[in-house]
């Protein structure tokens, strides 16, 4: 029969080998993963705990004032921030909000710290670009849930594996846009900087990065949004925050609670999005 052709090769043990590989990684690099987990976890808990300690009214006012100035002295975003944040407080989700914010903040920061240099490397070397591009495609198309499994293997449960999964899922836009932004800098400007005798790093820091800033910021904005979208997924492996509420509402079919927690995430998303976007347009 025809299927015998397909069955000619017995099933290749990809899954098994991936597991073996992950186990090997976990065992071999435990000396690395364990301290990362411990330090990062305590740092994040420390951050979240301190955020929670600040009286909510002060946080809300601070965000509103920042929003006012960042959006060019307009009241829209400030008003939205006040109402939105107050609503979350009112629903009793303030602590969750602070946890979620910490998770998004830390994983976005790490994404940027890793993503921008990788993007620069990519823009400087065709080989690097050829190698990294498919990896980025892979990272972005793989369902985010899949990252949870090695994340748990490496880091157990809690915030840190959440950060790890988010890092893999959310870093690609920053890398791509950094690469794109630098490659888009006009050839004449690069030539000008070289013609005056710039070193490679002078060219990068004085011309290419400033010119690419708007594009890089657009990538960072996407990264932050993706990190936020990982919040619910990360809660499946025990990362505290608004996602936990969504997840437990789902498990218990509590439409109301699920909706409220979801709205909380949306409010946070809108505020963060506007903040990163206006920072961007202001610098143009």
């Amino acid at each position: 029969m025809l299927n015998t052709v397909l069955d000619f090769v017995p099933e290749i043990p990809i899954a098994e080998n991936t597991k073996k590989f992950t186990d090997w990684l976990t065992d071999t690099f435990a000396f690395l993963f364990d301290p990362i987990k411990e330090n990062l976890e305590s740092f994040m808990e420390f951050t979240a705990d301190n955020l929670i300690l600040i009286p909510p009214v002060i946080v809300i006012l601070l965000v509103a004032v920042l929003a006012f100035f960042i959006s060019g002295k307009k009241f829209g975003l400030a008003a939205f921030s006040i109402v939105g944040l107050w609503l979350i407080y009112n629903q009793g989700f303030w602590d969750h909000l602070m946890n979620t914010f910490t998770l998004v903040l830390i994983s976005s920061l790490l994404s940027v710290i890793i993503g921008v240099p990788v993007g620069i490397l990519m823009s400087k070397s065709k080989t690097a670009e050829a190698i990294i591009t498919p990896i980025l495609d892979f990272m972005q198309t793989m369902p985010a849930f899949v990252y949870l499994i090695p994340a748990v293997a490496f880091f157990g449960i809690g915030m840190v594996p959440g950060v790890f999964a988010s890092l893999i899922f959310a870093t690609p836009p920053t890398v791509r846009f950094t690469n794109l932004g630098i490659r888009q800098v006009s050839k004449e400007l690069v030539e000008a900087s070289e013609a005056f005798g710039s070193t490679g790093s002078q060219k990068l820091f004085k011309v290419e990065l400033p010119m690419a800033k708007a594009t890089i910021m657009a990538g960072i904005n996407q990264t932050v949004m993706l990190a936020l979208s990982m919040v619910v997924i990360a809660s499946m492996i025990g990362a505290p925050g608004l996602g936990t509420e969504v997840l437990s509402a789902l498990q218990r079919a509590q439409v109301g609670t699920g909706f409220v927690a979801g709205v909380g995430i949306v409010i946070l998303a809108i505020i963060i999005d506007r903040f990163t976007q206006t920072v961007n347009t202001k610098n143009k």
Binding site: L189, E191, A192, E194, A195, F196, G197, K206, P210, M211
Partner: protein, 398 residues
Amino acid sequence: MPVIEVKNLSKVFGKNPKQALKRLDEGMSKDAILKETGNTVGVNRASFSVEEGEIFVIMGLSGSGKSTLVRLINRLIEPTEGHVLIDGEDLAAMDKKSLRQVRREKLSMVFQKFALFPQRTILENAEYGLEIQNVAKDVRKKKAQEALEMVGLGGYLHQKPGQLSGGMQQRVGLARALANDPEVLLMDEAFSALDPLIRKEMQDELIDLQAGMKKTILFITHDLDEALRIGDRIALMKDGSIVQIGTPEEILVNPANDYVEKFVEDVDRSKVLSAQNIMKRPETINIEKHGPRVALERMREEGLSSIFVVDSKRNLKGYVTADDASEARKKDIRDIHEILKNDIPRVEKDTAMNEIFDVIYDSPIPVAVIENDKLVGIIVRGAVIAALAGEGEVKLDA
């Protein structure tokens, strides 16, 4: 020693440049090489040298390799073959650090589309070259400001390039290049993006600047009028090769081949040629020795209707006409002074031809060409017309 010396310099873009060079040696054309090998000849065995204080223009149609050539000179493009010497030092042999040093200290570039850094202010743009040399902030600010004042932009220090007109932006480009106090300015079609009036203005200013600062300037253009206007010498490029190098007059008057001739055909010669190119050796008589009789004889021999009168030092004293001279002979007048006329149209040796028109238009006698009060030549109406028509009778450096 020349400031820039280019020896046998070639650049081929593509996968197999050496092979393409070999084809060039076998006499294949740029087009044929592109078709057969897929390699583009950018510059083909260019050789020339530029002396200190000279404005050397490289001219050619779009695609003839001008930009490639100028970028080979500061090694923004690596040559396929050949050498570039700056003050006698071979650029090709330099490591990155010494190359940077040469770029910082000796060569500054001005770009066609200005290439200003848009996020920097005008002052910060002009500071760039010094900033990357880690010159102290107040020093570089002062130098950049001086350079900006030199190009007339002292009042725009804190604007962004986007706020300025094209002409002003290119002044910033020029100031940025001058702030480094380089020996050489490399200008790649620096004025091509400007509209004609601004362009003329910039050309004049460049000539003035150069006269004051004695920079060596390598100026690229596709515009023959511009080349003729500002160039001390011009190299004409075609398909990557230099087809002729010479002063504007040499190029106009003695085109090396049909290509150059076609190129210069339409040029407004009246602006480029001057009195010395079209003047003839004057027939004269000496006021201290000769009388009306000699004058008349000389005129008869040469078939002239008038003749200029000079003293022994060739100072122009006047002219006599054939009519007056024969009248004088009849009346037996011996003294030439009695029939001497003095209403002679005069021009200097370097008066441009378009100014000679007005003088010669209603003059019955030839125009006298004067240098240091001495008569050095005459211009007859026919010579002006012949020169304008591009015919051969003009000569160089009489």
